[in-house]
Symmetry: C2
Subunit: 165 residues, 2 copies
């Protein structure tokens, strides 16, 4: 049993991982329910679950799932899938996509940069405080540029690990 197979998937083990990983995400600033939903999807074999399945595993109401999924979809951390010919929706983590979304704190960086520009303007670019803000701004602008390149290197690195899969 050191190497479980799909057949012997242990709900307790799954739940333990889900709650543990979710807790880490919460500590890093994510809301609890989105974190739990996301972790549950990550730990699913299919990489996708229905609203009902999520509600059952996490022991929460459909309303809670709905709210969490809306948030995750906005952040591009899950994709909604409509099985054609059914009202049932399916929420999926795209293996190759989700961590790019996590990295896409781009929007966050942009808002920080905007706030800093306002600060530099109103405090004066030649004051000590203004210069500090200005340097901070330069840092974020630099990071912006680097992240794209880094993701490119990751894709290359990934292929050395997994091939073109």
């Amino acid at each position: 049993m050191a190497e479980p197979t799909a057949a012997e998937r242990d709900p307790e083990a799954v739940s333990k991982f889900v709650e543990g990983f979710a807790a880490q995400l919460v500590e890093a600033g994510m809301q609890r329910m989105p974190a739990r939903v996301f972790a549950a999807l990550l730990a699913s074999d299919a990489g996708a679950m229905t609203s009902a399945e999520l509600g059952e595993q996490l022991q929460v109401s459909p309303a809670a799932v709905s709210g969490a999924v809306r948030y995750l979809a906005q952040q591009h951390m899950v994709a909604r899938e409509r099985e054609p010919g059914s009202r049932r929706e399916r929420y999926r983590v795209h293996s190759n996509q989700w961590y790019e979304a996590l990295t896409n704190r781009d929007a966050v960086l942009k808002r920080w940069e905007l706030a800093l520009r306002v600060g530099v303007d109103s405090l004066g670019s030649t004051t000590p405080a203004g210069r500090r803000l200005s340097e901070t701004l330069a840092f974020f602008e630099f990071i912006d540029g680097e992240v794209a390149a880094m993701m490119e290197r990751w894709r290359a690195h990934r292929e050395t690990l997994y091939g073109d899969g």
Copy 2:
């Protein structure tokens, strides 16, 4: 007045920036009070303030400042300074250091990695879910390595902007 000087520092403008920038940090997951304290320090000309100064600018109690500073110090986002021969403490943002601390989500990454390893082990590295977690883990390990190099490039880039200052 398009370019304010230190002499005409406008408390309202400062406060506006502080609250605005703090709000962005909060939205990114930081607690409110640490965010406000940090923003206030960033916007100070000296790059450092006493507990009393912070309390007055932010209109909060010494207890609130104390709690916020403890958090920020743990995250290495501010340094505590003891002016020798005084009980007054001074909290400082190290211009060159603070954003490295922000980037030092290293600890966060490490905890995520640990949780993911647990997941891979308990779900089985050959199951679909296990493989997904495993790939996620590989991604974070890759990022770990890249961040250090990126910071190095930033320091070099910074010198092209500001010289050795």
